[in-house]
């Protein structure tokens, strides 16, 4: 048949039947997977440091939520290798399009943790300047950010820059129409974008088996002509290797890539969720044995790339980081009610000016407790 792609082209798009893995669950080295480079030792050490810091940040955020400082916190504990791997695969001038569960990645990307937590503390919606940090606001509506990443990637391509956009998305998000439209659009335009699916097995309470009949989520790429891969999402070495390869492929002008990481959300959906209603402890314990931080630590210790002293130094750094965050989060954060009208449009409409004046008068008439608002 004319126009039919050669079998080889199809093979190049399909993911491997098993997730790519460099390190076994017990921290021993697995047989090197074909076609992927192991990241440099220095980078692995840095990844370990970031994972320890990231996990400590995550624990601190959970504590702050219990103390009532955050309205809600969706933890990414257990997905640490994905969070850090995604950040290390990107350059600072690449664009990241995160979801609400990717706070750990944002902190690792160097965004001020207080600005990251602005959303969850309820001070405003997005606390950081997306243009300054090349990171879109954390996206709550599922998979909508995949299209923004496709658009940004198209903008980068059209400007002749070699930047790449990476969109984070969850297993549940791959059921949304926007995800499929993003894959299709970027494949047609050959835009430099990487779709990184963190398959943590649950969309709140609904397990993967009720989400899809696909052999793996990575197989959703082939229908759009997108090169796809699946990776052990709790193996930092594999995640970083596969994502670095995907980013390089996209940067080289070959088009988008879909990467699925098999991982696990150790905590409930958020602090407001009760995971015991839909999954048993046995399953959680099985995944605890595959913990991404312990796995990398064992590998690096075994290979002599890390020693107990270095680990202790990193843990101290993480404690200091958490303590500084605690102090800053416990400080009073003034919110300014009149700002509500300032950013709806570039210039407020006459109606917004009227409403602002009305609220200002209300606040002025209120008792002194409103001071500073």
């Amino acid at each position: 048949m004319p126009g039919q792609p050669p079998r080889e082209a199809i093979q190049n798009l399909l993911p491997a039947p098993e997730p790519v893995r460099f390190v076994n669950e017990d921290g021993s080295a697995a047989p090197p997977p074909e076609g992927y480079r192991r990241p440099a030792d220095d980078l692995l050490r840095e990844a370990y440091r970031r994972m320890v810091l990231g996990r400590r940040f995550d624990a601190q955020a959970t504590t702050l939520t219990r103390q009532g400082q955050l309205a809600v916190y969706p933890s990414s504990r257990g997905q640490d290798a994905c969070q850090i791997g995604a950040v290390l695969a990107l350059r600072d001038d690449d664009w990241l399009f995160p979801t609400y569960r990717d706070s750990m990645a944002l902190v690792s990307r160097g965004i001020d943790p207080v600005e990251v937590l602005t959303l969850l503390r309820g001070d405003w919606h997005c606390g950081y300047d997306p243009h300054a940090v090349h990171t879109a606001p954390q996206c709550t509506p599922l998979a909508t950010q995949t299209l923004h990443a496709a658009g940004m990637a198209e903008a980068l391509r059209r400007r002749g820059e070699d930047g790449v956009a990476l969109a984070m998305v969850g297993d549940g998000g791959t059921s949304e129409g926007d995800f499929h439209e993003a894959l299709n659009f970027s494949a047609v335009f050959r835009s430099p974008v990487v779709y990184f699916v963190q398959n943590n097995q649950y969309a709140i309470s609904v397990p993967l088996a009720q989400q899809t009949a696909a052999p793996a989520l990575a197989f959703k790429g082939i229908g759009y002509g997108i090169r796809s891969q699946q990776v052990d999402g709790n193996d930092l070495v594999a995640v970083l290797s596969v994502l670095a390869d995907a980013v390089e492929y996209a940067r080289g002008g070959h088009g988008p890539v879909l990467v699925e990481a098999h991982t696990y959300r150790m905590d409930a959906h958020t602090n407001a969720d009760d995971a015991t209603r839909y999954r048993d402890d046995e399953e959680v314990e099985r995944w605890r044995a595959a913990d991404p931080v312990a796995r990398l630590e064992t590998l690096l210790l075994t290979e002599g790339l890390l020693d107990a002293g270095q680990i202790s130094t990193i843990r101290d750094e993480a404690e200091q980081f958490a303590a500084a965050l605690r102090t800053r989060m416990n400080a009073e954060a003034p919110v300014v009610a009149l700002e509500l009208f300032d950013h709806v449009f570039a210039e407020p409409t006459p109606q917004l000016r009227e409403q602002r004046a009305r609220l200002a008068a209300e606040l002025a008439a209120a008792p002194a407790t409103q001071e500073g608002h």
Partner: protein
């Protein structure tokens, strides 16, 4: 001076915007080789290349979502939704992202983009081709909603929309696409974005209308003149921002007002306008503000749309009910059971 249709004026606006600003991109379904199903983008791909005006896969959320990313990346996308009702798949992108991104980011990310929506009926279109969807957008904070009624406004309002730093839903009254006028586009005459215009002055009644209903309102005013009633017609041009000043000033002078819209009446733009007038000009009003709107029904099939669309007669009936004498309004007294 040149004679052109509204469709040609819109095409001209897109051409001039593409020429004026390298960041302007036009995309959507069939906007390339075909020039759009209404030919609004006719010849743009030929003249500006596929990099500036291009077809996308068929997916409206995809088109708008892609525009968000491109606008974040420094471009000024102008996207076409093929028909009003075909824009609904993009609703989440429009309401959750297009409308909110500036606010979510405290003004750090602006989205200068235009979503063109051919809307409303009167063209004999089969189902899903004739919705008046303006209220959905006007109800969403963060979107500007413009709709031209004249050939000249079609050009200038679209240029304004493309130059604006905020996202604009640009609603094109498709039954006016083929209306013609002699215009001089080298010199701007119309008022700036956000201002309504008094398009006919009068003493006794104000008709407030927008988009496809403006010519109907003008025709009604003409007919009323013969009966000795002097009608002023206000063309909103911009639903958001809403020009309270022009509308209120007119109603204070005339003391009577009918709001005309083609959309179904319940919870529509006309309801908002009537409420605003009563909040601002109550003591000037000699009669309740009335609305002439479409019925609260899904848009009718082609052979029945004449029964649905606000007509000159229906507007004149409403004008008659503005209590020029003290006779009670029979329709209202019987609660519609007459």
């Amino acid at each position: 001076m040149a004679t052109m249709t509204m469709a040609q004026a819109l095409n001209r606006a897109l051409r001039d915007a593409l020429t004026a600003d390298e960041q302007v991109l036009i995309f959507g379904e069939d906007v390339g080789a075909l020039g759009g199903v209404f030919r609004i983008t006719d010849g743009l791909t030929r003249d500006f290349g596929r990099e500036r005006c291009f077809d996308t896969p068929l997916a409206e959320a995809g088109i708008v979502g892609l525009a968000v990313g491109l606008a974040m990346g420094g471009f000024r996308p102008v996207v076409e939704m093929q028909f009003d009702a075909f824009a609904y798949p993009a609703f989440e992108q429009i309401t959750s992202h297009v409308a909110k991104l500036r606010n979510r980011t405290r003004g750090r990310v602006s989205l200068p983009m235009v979503i063109r929506v051919p809307f409303a009926g009167g063209i004999g279109g089969v189902e899903h081709h004739c919705d008046s969807s303006e209220a959905y957008y006007a109800h969403t904070p963060g979107l500007k909603v413009l709709t031209p009624a004249t050939v000249e406004d079609a050009y200038w309002l679209l240029r304004d929309a493309i130059d604006d730093p905020d996202p604009v839903v640009f609603m094109e009254p498709k039954r006016r696409y083929w209306s013609k006028a002699e215009v001089d586009l080298t010199r701007r005459r119309p008022a700036p974005l956000g201002r309504a215009e008094v398009v006919r002055t009068g003493r006794d009644v104000t008709l407030v209308a927008y988009g496809p209903s403006v010519p109907v309102a003008l025709e009604a005013a003409e007919a009323a003149e013969e009966d000795g009633i002097s009608i002023e017609v206000v063309d909103l041009r911009s639903i958001v921002p809403f020009d309270d000043a022009t509308v209120t000033e007119s109603v204070r002078r005339t003391g009577r007002c009918v709001v005309v819209q083609e959309a179904q009446g319940f919870a529509g733009v006309g309801a908002e306008i009537a409420a605003r007038i009563q909040e601002r000009a109550f003591h000037s009003l000699a009669a309740p503000v009335l609305r002439v709107a479409g019925f609260d029904i899904p848009y009718p099939p082609p052979k029945l749309e004449h029964a649905h669309l606000p007509s000159v007669e229906r507007i004149l009936d409403a004008v008659d009910r503005l209590q020029f004498d003290d006779e009670p309004d029979e329709l209202y007294l019987t609660g519609g059971r007459a």
